[in-house]
Symmetry: C2
Subunit: 406 residues, 2 copies
Amino acid sequence: MLAYQDTNGRLRDNFGMPIGSPARQEAFPRLLSDLWELDPDITFLNHGSFGSVPEPVLLSSMRWRAHVERRPIEVLARRLPALMGEVRLRVAEFLGSRPECTGFITNATAGCNSALAAVDWRRGDRVLFLNHGYNAVRQCIHHHAVTRGAEIDIVDIPWPVRCSADIVSRVLGGIGPRTRMLVIDQVTSPTALVLPIADIVRGAREAGTLTLVDGAHAPGMIPLDVSAIDADWWCGNLHKWCYAPKGCAVIVPAERQRDRTHPPVISHHLGRSFADEFDWQGTFDPAPWLCAGDAIEFTVSAAGGTLRERNRRLARWAHDMLCARLGESPLVESDADTLLGSMACVRVPSALRRRFASAAEMQAWLHDEHRIEIPVIDFGGWHVRLSAAPYNTNEDYERLARALSA
Amino acid sequence: MLAYQDTNGRLRDNFGMPIGSPARQEAFPRLLSDLWELDPDITFLNHGSFGSVPEPVLLSSMRWRAHVERRPIEVLARRLPALMGEVRLRVAEFLGSRPECTGFITNATAGCNSALAAVDWRRGDRVLFLNHGYNAVRQCIHHHAVTRGAEIDIVDIPWPVRCSADIVSRVLGGIGPRTRMLVIDQVTSPTALVLPIADIVRGAREAGTLTLVDGAHAPGMIPLDVSAIDADWWCGNLHKWCYAPKGCAVIVPAERQRDRTHPPVISHHLGRSFADEFDWQGTFDPAPWLCAGDAIEFTVSAAGGTLRERNRRLARWAHDMLCARLGESPLVESDADTLLGSMACVRVPSALRRRFASAAEMQAWLHDEHRIEIPVIDFGGWHVRLSAAPYNTNEDYERLARALSA
C-alpha cells in the first residue's frame, strides 16, 4: 500500500481516497514516495527515460560497493561468478527466461548492439523497423547492418494509433522476401505504446525473419514471459520499471542464437560460456547487477505487490483526466487497456503549442516555470509523455493539467 | 607526505624514518592509508588488478550519484555533455592527449575492442602480440581479427628479462611484411614490466604497422605524454593508479584513426562527434567518469604530490628486499630503473613452490594462512607480483618476506 499527503496534510491513497482513522495512518510510518531521493521541488513525471532508485535498492548498491572496496580481489575475482549465478537465477525467474541464456549488460541498447553484431549481414538484406522506433537502436542498425550492405525499411504505424490488430497486420505486412530481421520495441519510446509483441514475433518467425525485441521499458511494466515470446534476441532494462541502479539490463538470445552472441566488450572468457562472457566485460562496478535481485524483490513486493498494477492504473487515470481537462482526443483510439502501460501520451493543446518555437522550448518552459519534468515530443504533432511511478500521486498530474491549461 | 605506525605505535615515514617530535606527529592528523576502505585484516598487495579508491574520490562518486538520483533528467540529459567536456579537458591535460581524441570507456579492454573493431581486417593480415601480453586482449584479437581472417604472431621476450634495448629489438624484429598491427602493453600484466613503448611504437610506425598500446596500468604509474607516443590507438585505466572508481578508462586514437573509431555500445550520437559518441553509450552510471578529475587531483597532489614516485620507490625497495631475503636473483636483469614501476615480480623460492600443486593453490595459502592478498603467477616459473600503493608500507612487504621464507 502507498499513500500521499493532501494539501491539508491528510493521508490519501493514490486514487485519492482518504485514509481516515489515525490507527490506519500509523500503518504508514513512511510514505512510499519518501523512499526516493528525487528533488521535492520538481514534479517528476519522467521515470521512463532513466528510471529512479528507491532507498532499499540504493542501500543494496552501496553495500555491494563497500564490499568491493573492502576486499577487491575476494569479491571481484573469487566470489563474483557465484554471486552473478545467484542473481541470474532470480532475474531469469522474474523474466521467464532460461538462466543459461540470460546475460547482463549495461542497458538495452548494449543488447541491441550485441544482437545486431551477431548476424552475418549480406548485401541486399533488409531490416524492418517502425516509425515509432528508438533513435539509438536505429543508429545501431546503421552501424552493424547498413555498413555491411543491409538496408532499412520503415513500417508506418499511424499516430494516433488505431488498435492492436492494425499494428500486427501492418508490421507483418511490412515483411518482404529480403527482410532478414525485424527490430521492434516491446514498449515504444516516443509514443509509449505496449505493442502486441507475441503475435508480431510469431508472425515474423513463421515468415522466416529474425526478430530482435527491444524490451527497454518492459520489465516491471508489463507481465513478461520472455521464453514464450521466443524472439531470436530480447533485451530489457531493469533500471527503469524494476528500480535497479542505472547500468542494469539483460540480453536473452534464443538458444539457437546463443553461441554466436557476444557481449559488447570481449574479455577473458570468450568461448567459455555465454554467462561467463557476459559476467566479465573487464574491470567494472558490479553493484548495479548484484542488486538486481533486491530490485526485483522491491518491484514484486513493495506496496503489497501492487506497484505494477498501481502504476498502470495511475497512468491511465492521468491520461483520461488530462484528455478530458484539455479537451483533447486520446492518441490511442481503442484497446487502451492493452496498448497502455505505466506511461501514456497526451496531445499538447494547439493554443499552448503556438506559444513555443519547438517542443524542446515547451519542455524547458514546463521545467523552468512550472517545475514539472516531462518530455514534450514532436512526433507528427506535439505530445507530453507521462510516466506513473510509485512516487507519483494524482496531484502530480493535476499540477500538469493546470500547467497545460494555462 | 605520508606516514605509518610502527609496532610501537610510533609514526614513521614510508621509508622507515621516524617522525620524531609530537609537533610533527600532529601534522599527520590521519594516516594516508586511512583514506582507503580496505579490510585491515588483509595485507593488500594487489592494487594492480582492480585498483582501490581513496575516500575523497569515493565521496566524489557518491555525490555524483546523489545528484543523478535527485534530478535524473537535469544531470543525465541536460548537464552531462558540459560536465563530460570539463572532465575530458582535465583528463586530456593529465595524459597529454588531445581532448577531441579522448573518449571515456569502462576499462582499457573495452578500448582494445573499439580499436580492433575499427580495422578492416583482410585475410592474411598478421597481428603481433607478446608472450607477456594480457589474455583478455588476446581474446579481443581473436574475436575481432582472427575471425575475419587474420593470424596472431607471438614475439617472445625472455623471462627473466635482459634489458630495454633487447625488448625493443625483439619486438621490432618480430614485424614482418604482413604484420598489420602490433598490440602491446605499456606495462605488462603477468610480469609488471614497463616497456620502452615510445621506441617500439616509433619503430613500428616506420615499418608501416598499426599500433595499439594497452596502457591499462600506465596512468598514474609512469609519466605520460600520450600524443608524443603517437600510437594509432592508446588506452588506459584511471581506476588503477589514478584511484578512480572502477569503470573509469579512456581510449585515445590518433587523429588519423579517430573517425573510424566507435565505442563498444553505439547509441544516439553515431556520426556526430567522437566525444559525443563515447560520452553516451546508453543509460549508465556516469559517476566513475565524472569524478575522474577529482581522482587525478588526488593522484597529483596527495602526499605533497609524491604518490607516483613514492609508489615506485616502495615497489623497488620491496623488490630488492625480497630478492635479498629469499636469496632469489631478480627477474629484471638490468635497467630496473626504467623497467619497473609501482609493481614488481619476485621469484617464489623452489622449496616453497614444492609444497603446492599449483600457483593458484599457493595464492590461496598466502591469503588463507597469512592474510596476504597477492597474485602468484605461473609464467615459465612461479613468481609473486607485488603492488606498491599509497596505503602500503614497508611492513606489508616484511610480512610477505616472512611468509615466503616460511
